[in-house]
């Protein structure tokens, strides 16, 4: 089991546009990733799950994945969460 811990950098937290960008990226990976915040663990490709974490700017979340490609998948999602996605307008233009 690979895992990474990352602080949510987006100004609005893991809501709204950043949540959308994150979930879209996770869905494209092809590797099931779990986002954990305290007791709660949700699939990274579930919009409702990610929203329900209620992660705000500065919240620390843990990403977990298994199997081939897990490390790379986690790296890419960590990179995403470390950016301020609210300011990142060009991302999915």
């Amino acid at each position: 089991m690979a895992h990474r811990t990352v602080v949510v950098a987006s100004a609005s937290g893991l809501h709204a546009r950043p949540a959308k960008v994150f979930v879209q990226a996770a869905a494209r990976l092809g590797v099931p990733v779990t986002v954990r915040l305290g007791e709660k663990a949700v699939p990274a490709k579930s919009m409702l799950g990610v929203l329900s974490l209620g992660a705000v700017h500065g919240t620390e979340v843990t990403l977990e994945a298994d199997g081939p490609g897990a490390e790379e998948a986690l790296d890419s999602l960590v990179a995403l969460l470390s950016r301020d996605l609210d300011a990142d307008e060009a991302l999915d233009a």
Partner: protein, 646 residues
């Protein structure tokens, strides 16, 4: 309508599929025999003609009683498949709209319409730009999956957009605004699509289905659970919880084979069809609505009033209209009440072009209201705010102040009211302000009035003052102050005045607060019968024929089965109008009509013949009424009136 997407082809035929009274999104719109020729008859309530594709607005679906999970008809896998199909359909529909919203097309240029096949000529879902509020709700952002979509439907919609009577959508600023809003709308639609596509939601709903719940109930339960989870988190997420309700309604409707609920925003002009429309529904109508057709409603229903206000052709009380499949091109005649079904897009285009020419001709008329022999009849406007003001009339005959505050949960402040009234006063010569007219068909949430068993006969209009005197005092103060600020002469009248004592008390209060011209509306027969006495207390009367008909004939003005009783040609109603007019002549005081009858070019001469001195109507009605009066002498009008009373 060519190139209809086949949204239902992969839809499973589970036990719930295809049931229900409506022709749902799976009916093969535009391909089936039901899209053929035909005519429906309703009640024309707002003059004008238009044509275009029909889209039905459905109410949120009602869940049927849970079906027994053990019966021979129950197939858990089929239910689970229906769950998946419903969620996929909702998501696909939202995605399609998001794509359309990202490609705003000019809504004004007729020639662009003929660039058929070019992706840039695809119409935009720019509706969101004109929807009040920060974002389209899911329910507004989408209609049935099988309706006409932006894709492959180029010639019709953009042409229709160019045809729209208003023609005021031009301008670079507007285009830029549309584009920005289109992008924002697309973001929201995409996020909603991702929620509908959510794997947790799917898994949850499917496992409920496999455990023996019918697909509609499984969807309902899964959405509700996630909704509650989000609502519990508060803030932004609690707002998204409301989105989930809309998505739920859409998914459940699909599973039940019903049209998806909510005000459509297909991204192209359309004829809006509904069982009935509430004031809230109509407030959100975008500029892409060409005409309204409702199954219920009467000549004085809110649908009718709204349609006239906007110059939208409208037909109400039209049985069978809900069975017309989405996407069918129909012609709506708001004068005769006829709805012709199954036009070609070319025919629809001709109808719209003809209507545009007719309106241009009428709009060229100007000047004060006069009969052929020069008898003056003031032509005034019914407005809800300064936005409704148009040139060409002689003032405002009915300023419905409650329309400023319909959606308010807290009382509008004195200062806010002064500003709103001053805006109107500064832009119109004379203005007759009606004090707040709240009722259950027109509730003002901030008043917090208790529910009543018989609201039309309860505390409404001036009667609210019995419970909440401060509201009227504040409003009178604000009107007087706005008049002082602008130098306008404000005429103020109260709705639902019933007795002389009420008229006297209102007049006293209004004058004490600096109002110079005080009037009473005549909507209750008791007031009409004592019009002469009322005019001893007040300076003018204004007859609200809609409510006066309702109370004279004991017929609910929204009741489509009683439309004949609400016909303003009914002699008993005309008799009461005549009594008021006679009282006015005797007292030397003006008596106008501000009900819907005043804006009807056939009725207006009759009312003038009865002796009314002004007619107040929606702005779009003014040219036709002016023309009708100019065609007849006063004696001819009087002759018509005498015949109607005979």
């Amino acid at each position: 309508m060519p190139d209809q997407p086949p949204p239902s082809d992969d839809r499973p035929t589970g036990p719930d599929a295809g049931e229900g009274p409506h022709i749902g999104q799976g009916s093969g719109i535009g391909r089936g025999p039901e899209a053929g020729q035909g005519r429906l008859a309703g009640l024309g309530v707002s003059h004008g003609r238009s044509a275009g594709p029909v889209i039905r607005m459905a109410a949120p679906p009602t869940l049927p009683p849970p079906r027994p999970a053990t019966g021979p008809a129950f197939d858990p896998e089929a239910e689970a498949a229906t769950v998946a199909a419903a969620l996929a359909a909702v998501a696909a529909d939202l995605t399609r709209r998001a794509t359309a919203a990202r490609r705003p097309a000019p809504l004004t240029s007729e020639p662009a319409a003929h660039a058929t096949g070019s992706p840039t000529s695809e119409p935009a879902a720019a509706h969101a730009a004109d929807t009040p509020g920060p974002a389209p709700r899911a329910g507004e952002a989408s209609d049935t999956a099988g309706s006409v979509t932006a894709e492959g439907d180029t010639a019709g919609p953009t042409t229709a957009a160019g045809d729209m009577a208003g023609g005021d959508t031009a301008g670079d600023a507007t285009a830029a605004r549309r584009e920005a809003a289109g992008s924002e709308a697309a973001e929201i639609l995409e996020a909603l699509a991702m929620i509908a596509d959510d794997p947790m939601l799917l898994e949850d709903a499917q496992s409920r289905a496999r455990e023996g719940m019918g697909a509609p109930h499984a969807l309902d339960a899964a959405f509700t659970q996630h909704r509650e989870a989000l609502a519990a988190l508060g803030g932004y997420l609690a707002e998204r919880a409301a989105d989930l309700d809309d998505l739920k309604h859409r998914a459940v409707a699909f599973a039940l084979g019903l049209p998806m609920p909510g005000l459509p925003a297909p991204g192209h002009p359309y004829i809006l069809v509904a069982a009935d429309l509430s004031p809230a529904d109509t407030a959100g109508l975008g500029p892409d609505v060409l005409a309204l057709v409702t199954e219920r409603g009467g000549p004085t229903s809110h649908t009718a009033i709204l349609a006239r206000g906007r110059g939208l052709p409208a037909v109400v009380a039209c049985p069978g209209i809900l069975d017309v499949p989405d996407g069918t091109v129909v012609r709506v005649d708001g004068g005769t009440g006829e709805v012709a079904i199954g036009l070609t897009e070319e025919q629809a285009h001709e109808v719209r072009a003809g209507e545009r020419a007719e309106r241009a001709r009428l709009a060229a008329s100007s000047g004060p209201g006069r009969t052929k022999d020069g008898h003056p009849v003031k032509l005034l406007l019914n407005i809800g705010s300064a936005d409704d003001l148009r040139p060409g009339a002689e003032g405002v005959g009915l300023f419905r102040t409650e329309f400023l505050f319909l959606d308010r949960t807290t009382a509008p402040s004195y200062g806010e009211q002064v500003d709103a009234y001053a805006e109107v006063f500064s832009r119109a010569e004379t203005v007759i302000v009606r004090t707040l007219d709240a009722g259950t068909d027109k509730p003002l949430p901030f008043l917090g009035l208790p529910a009543e068993p018989n609201p039309a006969l309860g505390v409404r209009g001036l009667r609210v003052d019995r419970l909440l005197p401060d509201v009227l005092d504040t409003q009178l103060d604000a009107i007087a102050e706005a008049a002082r600020k602008t130098g306008a002469e404000a005429w103020v009248m109260a709705p639902m005045v019933t007795t002389e004592a009420e008229a006297a008390a209102f007049a006293r209060r209004a004058r004490a607060r600096g109002v110079t011209r005080v009037g009473a509306m005549v909507e209750v027969p008791a007031a009409a019968l004592r019009a002469g006495r009322l005019l001893r207390e007040v300076d003018f009367l204004s007859i609200g024929t809609n409510d006066l008909a309702q109370y004279t004939f004991a017929a609910d003005r929204q009741h489509s089965a009683l439309a004949d009783l609400l016909d303003p040609r009914q002699p008993a109603l005309l008799e009461l109008v005549a009594m008021c007019a006679a009282a006015g002549r005797e007292a030397g005081k003006p008596v106008g009509v501000c009900g819907e009858a005043a804006g009807d070019p056939l009725l207006a001469p009759l009312l003038v013949g009865l002796g009314v001195t002004s007619l107040s109507m929606a702005a779009v009605c003014v040219p036709a009424v002016r023309e009708a009066l100019a065609d007849l002498t006063l004696a001819q009008c009087q002759e018509r009136a005498a015949q109607a009373l005979a």
